[in-house]
Symmetry: C2
Subunit: 324 residues, 2 copies
């Protein structure tokens, strides 16, 4: 493989490779994004006009809720329909990102050789560009790679730094019966972020009790418009997965017909632009911060007990005339 | 109480109240810090010279490892020695911060009426000033309040955004036997952040196996200097707590004698100053970001498909001549 591809390497950009659906080009560009490498920017500019037509599905839920297994089943289903699928796993507990028990990981392997599937994990929480911006940019790569569906898997509801519901067009919240009391605590989150709620592991004895809690919470949602469907799934057996895909499809039609999809896309673009500007300015801030020597001198003054860090910081800022 | 205190309210600052060990003054100032309220700054300046003499102990570990119970036992022990104790719980699963089962919370209650104990939970992950700066500032308040010991409780090793080991002088890592394989995964973290390792719930049948894993990891640590003590505790029964306090004391003597405590304090001051400067500059950045209208206009251009967000961001920055 390496031998076949190398002759082209010098004559085309990574962006062109991505558009030609070369997995190695996509992987490499994603690594640049992950590392905050400035080389990614011209590539992203180049692929930008070729992105925007994938449908982005968010799968979110606590670690261990089985969202990876559900994602795995959705991949199979979409593949059987001939759709190309991209997966972005930002959950460190996801088998896609290497954080799972062996069985899970083996299950995922079956998609590894399918050229219609591209899976990328991004477990790094210290992205220089910020988690949301990196996610947004990674999605653009998966879109340009020709994915019909892109699934973003994240740990959810207050646990994740990614506001996946802002990037995804349809967000599935995966709950489990054993979450018990936590379902109550998730109340606000459920209604705010979920477009679809799936109770996975619905074959557990406590499933009925959990289902009642969820139904009660959903029934309290009096906001007009989309009624959040509530489905029971047993992802490991593939049960309920077809119904889930149908619910996604219904939601997609709903948001397309009501102009919500367009509004969501505009919101994503706005926050992407804002993140780029913020990032540029923060970069400049970082370069202006005092260096170790200066900080050591400041700390020495503080240790004498004659001043405080606020006064020192003030003096530093004034001395440098640091204003935007 | 409210009646007695109110006459003074207008005539003294919160800082003075903190120094007079008034719990309500401390609570209020901590709320200001938590909310990123600028009113906190002059108060912090005022208390600053009166802080710095407390000994700061970090207690870190996964949710459910029993670190709150251990903290609770340490409080009792220190109180029996006549020491004043402050507790800062930044772990959302801590009973101190309201995230525990009823039994845990009832246990903690016994300290609520002890005027030598001040407990504050800060579960908010969206602190405007950043988690580390808020923690550093909250610690200053607990110090000025006259705490001999301040215990900072956080979820640990890669799970927390607080780098508690940088703020604490002695960091205790609490492990449990049921963490099983996770202990292996924590390998680097154990050696990097722990000054003392406690295997809690050491009465569980799997404790011996876990103890062997931990001992093996610790034996691999060939760095010179402090040898990390490994203790078994059953916090709920108070077993091993005295030994833990002795280990803390030994570590304290060690770092005092080797100049490490002073170096740690200097490092804390340096990062505090840096955080204040960073924060001030970021605040200015935030004020310079495009507003909703400007973003909407940018997004509309993008939807036409003729440009990309990087070009738009560039134009925005150039137009505003935004340079530091």
């Amino acid at each position: 493989m390496a031998h076949q591809q190398s002759p082209n390497h010098s004559t085309h950009t990574l962006a062109q490779g991505v558009l030609r659906r070369e997995p190695r080009a996509a992987s490499r560009l994603l690594s640049w994004i992950e590392n905050g490498d400035a080389k990614a920017i011209p590539e992203l500019k180049e692929i930008y006009p070729h992105s925007g037509s994938s449908y982005i599905v968010g799968v979110t839920g606590a670690p261990g809720s089985g969202k990876s297994t559900l994602t795995d089943r959705l991949i199979s289903l979409y593949r059987s329909q001939g759709q190309r699928v991209g997966v972005l796993a930002i959950d460190p507990s996801s088998p896609f990102s290497g954080g799972a028990v062996l069985g899970d990981r083996i299950r995922m392997q079956r998609h590894a050789t399918d050229e219609g599937v591209f899976i990328r994990s991004m477990a790094n929480r210290n992205w220089p560009g910020g988690l949301n911006r990196c996610t947004a940019e990674a999605l653009k790569v998966l879109e340009a790679y020709g994915s019909d569906i892109v699934i973003v898997e994240t740990v959810g509801v207050g646990q994740s730094e990614v506001e996946v519901e802002k990037l995804a067009y349809t967000t599935i919240l995966v709950c489990t019966p054993d979450a018990g009391d936590k379902i109550q605590a998730m109340k606000a989150g459920i209604i705010e972020i979920a477009d679809i709620v799936a109770l996975n592991k619905a074959d557990l004895p406590t499933a009925d009790h959990a289902a009642k809690s969820i139904e009660m919470i959903l029934s309290m949602n009096s906001s007009p418009g989309w009624t959040i469907p509530f489905l029971k799934t047993v992802a490991i057996e593939g049960k309920g997965v077809e119904e889930l895909a149908q619910a996604i499809e219904r939601h997609r039609s709903y948001i397309e017909e009501h102009g919500i999809l367009k509004a969501k896309k505009i919101d994503s673009l706005k926050s992407h632009i804002r993140e780029i500007i913020r990032r540029e300015l923060y970069e400049k801030v970082r370069m202006q911060l005092p260096d170790e020597d200066e900080l050591s001198r400041c700390a020495a003054k503080l240790m004498e007990g004659t001043t405080d860090p606020y006064t020192i910081a003030d003096a530093f800022l004034k001395e440098r005339r640091m204003t935007l």
